[in-house]
Amino acid sequence: MDTNDLVSKLVKDLKPIEPLPAPQCCGMKWAIGSMLSMMALFPLLANGLRHDIYVIYTQPQFLLELGSVFLAGTLAGLSAFILRVPQLKISLKTKMMIFIATTIWTIEIVRLLGLEFSSHDTEAVIDLAGHECALHLSILMAFPVIFIFYLLKKGASTHLTWSGYTALLATISYTYVAMRLLCPIDDAAHLLLWHVSPAIFYAAIGTFAGKFFLKW
């Protein structure tokens, strides 16, 4: 087909369309949807919120941990929605958001590793019963991950790997926060093995998944 014919065909096919909403709107929609879906699953998993929630939510360290991971999720989610619009280069602002989100996770992992190595307690590592947490994490993140990929598919990302990575980073961050509200075990080894490791595994998958699922 000649290029001029193609232009004529495309012009003939033109229909009015709604421009994509702003990334903030989509991010908000996804965040609210994800939180509601996770809250709906709380009563079904592990009999609801952790029993010591009224004690622990007053501890600054716990709040700081949850707040920072939630921030990482929000920044990663916003980046994912910014990246769904075609762009020649990723803007510095977006790069910074991805960097901060990744750094927060790195700090969290290093903090947990530090706690584990200083405690010299390997009991939780061999406690295979903790696999329930990995399962709950997977169940909790199912809807958010499908929802974010559905919303991202409406766009046309030109940076598929980064889109996939940020989408999964956002999802695992929110899910990690939800799991910390469900699981009463604060042991670093347990958190590393059954909360953080699956999260890293899913983030790695997301990086590859973006290439396939977000292709357009």
């Binding site: 290029t3 232009v7 702003a22 046309a156 030109t158």
Partner: protein
């Protein structure tokens, strides 16, 4: 000389966002003007990225299709050039990966061959049967495309229109099918 011309910055900044905003609202004239203006720009952009003139027009067409598909993602307050060249770069990289992985020259040579001369000769009955069996090894769409290209002698352009594909995609499909058939024929005693 046209290839060396720099796109008009003023147009990129004001005129094209306006045209695209009108196109999003369904203004056919604005859309036609926009596509006609960006086509030579895309051609220049691709000429700088790609080596072969044979595939240049195909990639330009793929990019125009992508612009059409993704037109809802443009927001008039954003720079149009970054949006357009983002798509162009994405398509150029895709094409380079695809074409250079498969070997463009090999594809260009074998798509000109047809099996129709074999069918015209009664003496080739056995060969025709084998070719038909080789065709049966292909997925349905691939088989239909090969029949159009190699038995019925349709041009790649015709097939592209029939299946809503680009000529480049048809060429790649035919090439893949040809390789599958060749492998089957070799495994069944042909050299």
């Amino acid at each position: 000389m046209d290839l060396l011309k720099v796109p008009d910055k003023e147009k990129m900044r004001k005129h094209w966002p306006d045209l695209m905003a009108r196109a999003q609202a369904g203004d056919i004239a604005a859309y036609k003007e926009l596509l006609n203006e960006i086509t030579p720009i895309l051609r220049r952009f691709m000429a700088r990225k790609l080596f072969s003139q044979d595939i240049l027009e195909d990639i330009v067409q793929e990019t125009l299709l992508a612009v059409h598909t993704a037109r809802h993602t443009y927001r008039p307050e954003d720079p149009f050039d970054r949006w357009l060249f983002g798509i162009a770069r994405h398509k150029a990289l895709d094409a380079m990966r695809r074409y250079y992985r498969q070997g463009v020259h090999e594809i260009l040579v074998d798509t000109d061959e047809t099996f129709s001369h074999l069918l015209a000769n009664d003496k080739n009955e056995g060969i025709v049967q084998d070719i038909k069996q080789a065709l049966d090894q292909l997925p349905e769409k691939q088989r239909k495309i090969v029949i159009m290209a190699k038995l019925e002698g349709h041009s790649l352009a015709d097939i592209a229109v029939t299946y809503g594909m680009t000529e480049a995609a048809v060429r790649v499909t035919v090439h893949r099918a040809y390789k599958t058939m060749k492998l089957w024929l070799v495994n069944n005693g042909y050299e």
